[in-house]
């Protein structure tokens, strides 16, 4: 991993960001690079805005002036992976999706061009982030869940090895929202991810050979696995999908080295199953009591009650707590399950070593609209009411943006960030949303114009935060629904659902919106309306550029402070994946993103609009001017024949 020598592994991100400009200035051409780097660190110390590359456009602001942190938010970037690489979908435990790289910045991002592309041979929704470890990129495909290792030292990122896990095709028809995977995590020389058919697998990063595989759930119950694992130390945390099928939701820890399960917590049922014990101290009284995972349901209904774990897991190294949200309760028809339906639509804090619950907070008690709490939890320290609090920020599907004390589970703020009419306000005393009685569905009644739709005010793709601006960047949705409920019976491995949904744009007509959110004020700093859904992950960088994509296939770079679109590029298919950035072996900064629409972006409200793209499965890698190893005019690929015939 040559790149690690540039960035001390334990260096705080602010230092990393500071050192980067030295490289940035010499990134245009291999021959100049090595000597350039030798001077780089020195130059970085005396760096100023005026040491520019002759190739840069005049007036390009390099390096970035110190940005104003508008919220005062600070982030712990543990595990402090090398700034040049990208080891986990969110890059760090806090789920920041922030890169300290700044070769690509507001001054030159307009010159981004395709450097190379990679077709992975699959369709279905491409929801994962590529990873970069050393000089290798790893990309995981949707079903059949193949893993590719691409050699970044070779022109065009040629394939080093391909791992084909051969999952059961039965899984395709059990996955509610397309046969997707949301990614892979790297740890201890292994790549670990979940197969759609309920297995977690570890693959040797060097050889592409399987190290271990463990069966974690059963397709016969309607469970699948789609989430991206989180690795902390020698543990990998995983969970299941299947809240639409009446699966029993759980989260589990597996030993990274042996593939053995260390603990498992179910999100419904008894306290014992839920790993709820003496340490469990929810902030609000209505979540205190014995066996609420049974008693907040009609008799026995918890057994097929959903509360799966298909979103993101964050980790706080100081408190040793993991954070994740659970899915909707099953069936999706609320009339069949009176009660709060704990622990569905709930954010949990659990001890990473034991799995024991520390606190829980249910975002949508007795969820009536399919508002899973599975979206990401961003961890940061934030000034709230004149005091710095350790918080998590959570943009829930129910369209409330929550600021929650991540040590106690107390809601410090709950503000709507998207169209909402299911709730008329938030009771800060009880921590419960005030439900609009006019918008509660009942079987036999068709409710028009309920907001947000089941897709949520924001879907699962994770947001990003920049420590330079203090702002959070997120793709959100502007979609409402007409809803008719049908009573359903439980039939194993079929949907336990009952929602008949017609979706349509909320006011404004746009389906998507990309926003910058100030977590200190609970308000948008700026936003960009998109005709199609914005259902991609976000990348924020020290170049003060923020990247996101749209369901119709546009990939954009935006000024992190002003919200001005600086660059757009149309990809082959829609973008619902997670962008990343890294330094290649040539010390050039690249930005990579999967194109391949699917998942919940292929619902009729989107799909029926003119301009909606076909499926695809292509990785796009961009660089300034499209420069890359072995590419460009007059450059001959290393393996080409020297005597080309006319």
């Amino acid at each position: 991993m040559p790149a690690t020598k540039f960035v001390p592994k334990r260096a705080p991100a602010c230092q990393v960001a500071f050192l980067r400009p030295g490289e940035a200035r010499f990134a245009r051409g291999n021959t100049r690079l090595k000597s350039a780097w030798k001077m780089g660190a020195l130059l970085a110390l005396v760096t100023s805005a005026f040491i520019g590359n002759a190739d840069e456009p005049p007036g390009a602001p390099l390096p970035q002036p110190a940005a104003t942190n508008l919220s005062g938010a600070t982030i712990n970037f543990a595990p402090n992976d090398p700034g040049s690489e990208w080891h986990s979908p969110a890059r760090d435990y806090a789920n920041s999706r922030y890169s300290p790289l700044q070769q690509i910045n507001v001054g030159n991002v307009g010159r981004l061009r395709v450097a190379w592309t990679f077709s992975d041979g699959t369709l279905h929704g491409h929801e994962a982030a590529p990873l970069v470890v050393g000089n290798t990129m790893y990309v995981v495909t949707p079903f059949p869940d193949m893993l590719y290792a691409l050699d970044l030292t070779k022109p065009g990122g040629s394939i080093k090895w391909t791992f084909k896990p051969n999952p059961s095709s039965m899984a395709v028809g059990k996955a509610c929202c397309d046969a997707v995977t949301r990614g892979v995590a790297y740890a201890n020389g292994k790549l670990i991810y979940n197969l759609l058919d309920d297995h977690t697998v570890a693959v040797d990063a060097k050889t592409g050979k399987e190290v271990w595989r463990i069966k974690m759930d059963n397709l016969k119950t309607g469970a699948t696995m789609t989430m991206a694992p989180l690795v902390v130390g020698n543990k990998v945390f995983v969970g299941n999908s299947g809240g639409e099928m009446g699966a029993q939701g759980w989260v589990a820890a597996i030993d990274v080295n042996t593939g053995k399960e260390l603990w498992r917590a179910y999100n419904t049922g008894s306290d014992k199953r839920a790993l709820i014990g003496a340490d469990f101290k929810p902030f609000y009284s209505w979540m205190k009591g014995k066996d609420l995972g049974i008693n907040s349901w009609p008799a026995g209904m918890w057994k097929h009650g959903g509360a799966t774990v298909w979103g993101w897991i964050s980790y706080d190294p100081e408190s040793n707590l993991i954070y994740y949200g659970t899915s909707n309760p099953s069936p999706r028809v609320p009339a069949q399950r009176p009660g709060d339906n704990l622990w569905a639509t709930t954010i949990f804090a659990r001890d990473a070593d034991t799995g024991m619950a520390r606190w829980a907070y249910q975002t949508t008690p007795h969820d009536e609209w399919d508002y899973d709490a599975a979206n990401e939890d961003l961890l940061m320290d934030l000034p709230v009411g004149g005091k710095t609090r350790k918080v998590l920020i959570h943009f829930d599907r129910n369209a409330y943006a929550y600021t929650i004390d991540r040590l106690t589970g107390e809601v410090l703020r709950a503000t709507p960030f998207a169209s909402m009419n299911w709730s008329t306000g938030f009771d800060m005393k009880t921590g419960r949303p005030i439900v609009n009685p006019d918008e509660e569905p009942r079987p036999g009644i068709k409710l028009p114009n309920l907001c947000p739709s089941d897709l949520g005010g924001k879907e699962w793709p994770p947001s990003a935060i920049s420590p330079r601006t203090g702002l959070i960047y997120a793709g959100i949705l502007n979609v409402c629904m007409d809803l008719a409920n049908h009573e359903v019976g439980y039939i194993a491995s079929t949907p336990y659902d009952g929602m008949e949904i017609g979706r349509h744009p909320a006011s404004g007509g746009n389906l998507g919106e990309f926003m910058a959110w100030n977590p200190a004020t609970g308000k948008k700093a700026w936003s960009i309306k998109e005709k199609f859904m914005t259902m991609s992950g976000v990348l924020a960088t020290a170049g003060d550029v923020v990247f996101y994509g749209t369901a119709d296939g546009w990939f954009r770079a935006v000024d992190a402070r002003s919200g001005k679109v600086l660059w757009s590029h149309k990809l082959g298919s829609g973008v619902i994946g997670l962008p990343i950035t890294y330094l290649g072996p040539d010390h050039r900064q690249y930005v990579a993103i999967y194109s391949g629409v699917g998942g919940n972006a292929r619902v009729p409200v989107d799909k029926s609009l003119a301009g909606f793209p076909a499926e695809g499965g292509t990785l796009y890698v961009f660089s300034i001017d499209g420069d890359a190893v072995g590419m460009g005019p007059g450059v001959k690929p290393a393996n080409a024949s020297s005597s080309a015939k006319p």
Partner: protein, 186 residues
């Protein structure tokens, strides 16, 4: 009309049970005693049997086709058996494929749709043969046929070969086989 329907149901019950082996509680006679040829078995959903199957097997019509009461009953079943959640309440597909268009993974003839429901399919379609009697499956097929995307039983041969009504046919592809001398390999 009524007796014809009953007769047809019986035929289909026999035929389909032969294929599946009728495990678990069916009242039909043991498969080994049924006078059904292997050719018929090879026909239903199995392309390998395409060459030499009697076309009549694929042309098996739905005894409930165009029976409004059966279509209504099929719709009820479609919702009760959770078909609607996979294939959408309007049939346009969600987790499972669209049932209203002309594209069929495993064939859109009534008997092929019947087989898909009865036996299940490898991409997640459950097998309903043990849970539903043939008459109920045919009612489901009737409801699916009412979406308009399925292939009429009368068009079985064309459907098998991917033909569409009214299309042009190259002279060499006309029904009479070409003379042996006309072909000289690829």
């Amino acid at each position: 009309m009524k007796s014809r329907t009953a007769l047809c149901s019986l035929f289909c019950l026999v035929g389909v049970c032969f294929l599946s082996g009728c495990e678990g509680g069916s009242t039909s006679p043991p498969a080994s005693k049924l006078p059904v040829s292997n050719e018929v078995a090879a026909t239903l959903g199995q392309p390998a049997g395409m060459a030499n199957v009697p076309e009549s097997a694929l042309s098996t019509p739905n005894p409930y086709a165009n029976d409004p009461q059966a279509v209504t009953a099929g719709k009820t079943l479609y919702i009760k058996m959770n078909c609607a959640s996979c294939h959408a309440y309007n049939g346009t597909g969600n987790m499972g494929p669209d049932l209203t268009d002309a594209s069929w993974r495993y064939g859109g003839l009534p008997i092929e749709i019947y087989t898909s429901i009865h036996d299940g399919r490898p991409k997640g379609m459950p097998a309903w043969g043990n849970a539903l009697p043939p008459s109920e499956i045919w009612k489901l097929v009737a409801y699916i046929q009412s979406f308009g995307g399925s292939t009429p039983a009368s068009a079985y041969r064309h459907a098998r070969e991917g033909d569409t009504p009214g299309e042009q046919v190259a002279p060499e592809m006309s029904s009479s086989p070409p003379p042996a001398s006309a072909s000289s390999g690829p």
